[in-house]
């Protein structure tokens, strides 16, 4: 693999007395969608939160675009070019959609062309531009959460379960938006439980278990090998 944009090397992270990550080794190639898969509670979300600095890795190194970010504060990591979409969406409910987006454009005013592109991906955000984000539906909140990351060009997007709990129509909208992002050459590390979406978007896959990555390889290989899926995750993607 040539010059990955993100590399985790032997990362251990604790949350209170719990040892969640136990030596995660992971590489995210440039311009690709890297899937992070695995059962619930194996450390996928903790991996993303360790990268963005919300939880500190107590051991190991995290390198982003050639720079060691293991000990950097979260704002510095974000400003280095990482967009983060958390599992709980992290929207500011008392702020309008517009204010959420203005805030997400940390480096200056929103680029009108990019905003139109975001509206193209998520039309409801234009409809509810002046509405309080707390009044949006679950799907619209998820759109806003991803749109916030998209409103400025980032080198890497960390996206945690963007289709969780959403209706099929909204999932399709999400998948299209992520494909748009991918087509623009963005690098994405995506945690996703919806295997159809994972199969459609993923270039490479990393399967986690017990706080470490137990398998890495092409997504196509994992998607086509039911035996491998059974062995790694205890289920077959075809079942979904």
């Amino acid at each position: 693999m040539s010059d990955p944009i993100l590399t985790l090397d032997g990362v251990f992270t604790n949350i209170a007395q719990y040892h969640i990550l136990q030596g995660v080794d992971l590489q995210v190639p440039r311009g690709q969608v890297t899937m992070l898969l695995g059962r619930n509670g194996v450390g996928k979300t903790t991996t993303l939160r360790s990268v963005i600095g919300h939880w500190r890795a107590r051991q190991g190194t995290i390198r982003f675009d050639g720079q060691d970010i293991t000990r950097l504060p979260t704002p510095a990591i974000a400003r280095a070019g990482i967009g983060f979409v958390p599992e709980d969406m992290g929207i500011f409910a008392d702020l309008t959609v517009e204010e959420n987006m203005v805030l997400a454009a940390a480096s200056g005013p929103i680029d009108p062309g990019r905003l139109e592109w975001v509206f193209g991906a998520f039309p409801p955000l234009k409809t509810f531009w002046k509405s309080e984000a707390g009044n949006l539906s679950g799907g619209q909140k998820q759109m806003l959460s991803i749109a916030r990351a998209m409103v400025e060009e980032r080198k890497l997007y960390l996206i945690d379960e963007p289709t969780k709990g959403l209706a099929p129509a909204i999932i399709s909208t999400m998948a299209r938006a992520l494909r748009d992002l991918k087509d623009q050459g963005a690098s994405i590390l995506l945690v996703e439980q919806n295997f159809a979406v994972a199969k459609a978007l993923g270039d490479t896959a990393n399967v986690m278990d017990d706080g470490r990555v137990i398998w890495s390889g092409p997504m196509a290989q994992l998607a086509s090998d039911a035996g491998l899926q059974e062995q790694l995750m205890g289920l077959s993607l075809d079942a979904h």
Partner: protein, 343 residues
């Protein structure tokens, strides 16, 4: 994957009750005024008490606004906030005493100039003190509420004792600037000039805070930080710096409130900030922790309630605001305008 159907959301028309819901706390102020009007037989007395209540409310708002933001933004319970009120009063009044030739002159411009110098001096002193207080006392106890209560109360006691060392243990009685003494008569009611000035200053401070919070990027960061600080940092903003700025601004506003409160009562003591903290906490709690608008409405309600009840039934004045707090918390347990916090 199948193509997504056209997503065409519509906003349903809200009913009257839903539309009026967010404005209910705002309506409480005129409702309380009307209740006061009905309970107080004399219109001129009611007008005098209303202006007095609004003035008192504005000053409490100025003192409390910083505290509510500090709590909302960083979850810090600062029992030492009253120290800034006391220090502001002592610094401001000391400046006014030095500028006695200006305050005693029968010139409104000279009086206001002296007052402005005193206020600026008090705000600079309390802002600098707030910076030191945050660095030395508050920063080591982030995330530990019990420690925050203990250590900030300790800080308050230390500051009170330092005031006694510097200015002495006695109360200091104050003469207001000449132009702010006395009252004007309106519709048969005597309206103290100073109270009218206090109402004007309170409105200016509230307007400025609202402008900053609603119309500027820094205000956006503060409002978002109150809801979900972790996400604000993930967007690239150094919330820690914003918090220090808010702490300094809140301390400076408490200093301004201290000067105004001192001139209102015409006496200052080292413990005046501590005594004001009861009202300040009531206002912050009933307003909704972290809400500036809630704090403003809460302060007006407390000021009006205190004045009306003191006139109608002086013995009940002491408990009237506690009763108000209980009633509001039974209606809205998170305060009148609660800030939606991230889970």
């Amino acid at each position: 994957m199948t193509a997504a159907p056209e997503h065409a959301p519509k906003m349903a028309q809200a009913g009257f009750a839903e539309r009026i819901g967010p404005w209910m706390p705002v309506l409480l102020v005129p409702v309380l005024c009307v209740l006061g009007f009905l309970a107080i037989p004399n219109t001129s007395s009611w007008l005098t008490l209303t202006v007095s209540g609004l003035a008192m409310g504005m000053m409490i708002f100025i003192m409390a606004s910083g505290l509510t933001l500090v709590f909302g933004l960083m979850d810090v319970i600062n029992f030492g906030h009253g120290a800034f009120v006391s220090v502001g009063a002592f610094v401001g009044i000391s400046v006014l005493l030095v500028l006695g030739h200006m305050t005693e002159a029968p010139s409104l411009m000279l009086n206001l100039a002296a007052l402005l110098v005193a206020v600026v001096g008090a705000m600079i002193a309390t802002g600098a003190m707030g910076y030191a207080f945050e660095k030395v006392i508050v920063m080591p106890v982030y995330g530990h509420h019990l420690k925050q209560i203990l250590v900030t109360m300790g800080g308050l006691i230390v500051v009170e004792q330092l005031i006694i060392v510097l200015w002495g243990p006695e109360e200091i009685y104050i003469n207001r600037p000449e132009a702010l003494k006395g009252a004007i008569t309106f519709a048969g009611a005597a309206l103290e000039k100073y109270r009218l000035v206090a109402v004007a200053v309170g409105l200016i401070v509230f307007g400025a805070m609202r402008y900053v919070l609603r119309r500027t990027k820094i205000g956006l960061i503060v409002r978002a930080g109150v809801q979900n600080g972790e996400m604000v940092e993930a967007l690239g903003y150094r919330l820690r710096l914003v918090f220090v700025g808010v702490f300094i601004a809140g301390s400076a506003l408490a200093g301004l409130g201290g000067v105004m409160w001192g001139l209102y009562q015409e006496v200052i003591t080292a413990h005046m900030g501590n005594q004001a903290m009861i009202l300040i906490f009531i206002v912050v709690i009933i307003g909704g922790l972290g809400s500036v608008e809630g704090c403003f409405i809460g302060a007006l309600l407390v000021g009006l309630m205190q004045n009306y009840v003191a006139f109608l039934e002086p013995k009940a004045a002491l408990i009237s605001n506690i009763g108000l707090m209980v009633a509001i918390l039974m209606w809205r347990p998170m305060g009148m305008i609660p800030v939606v916090k991230a889970k």
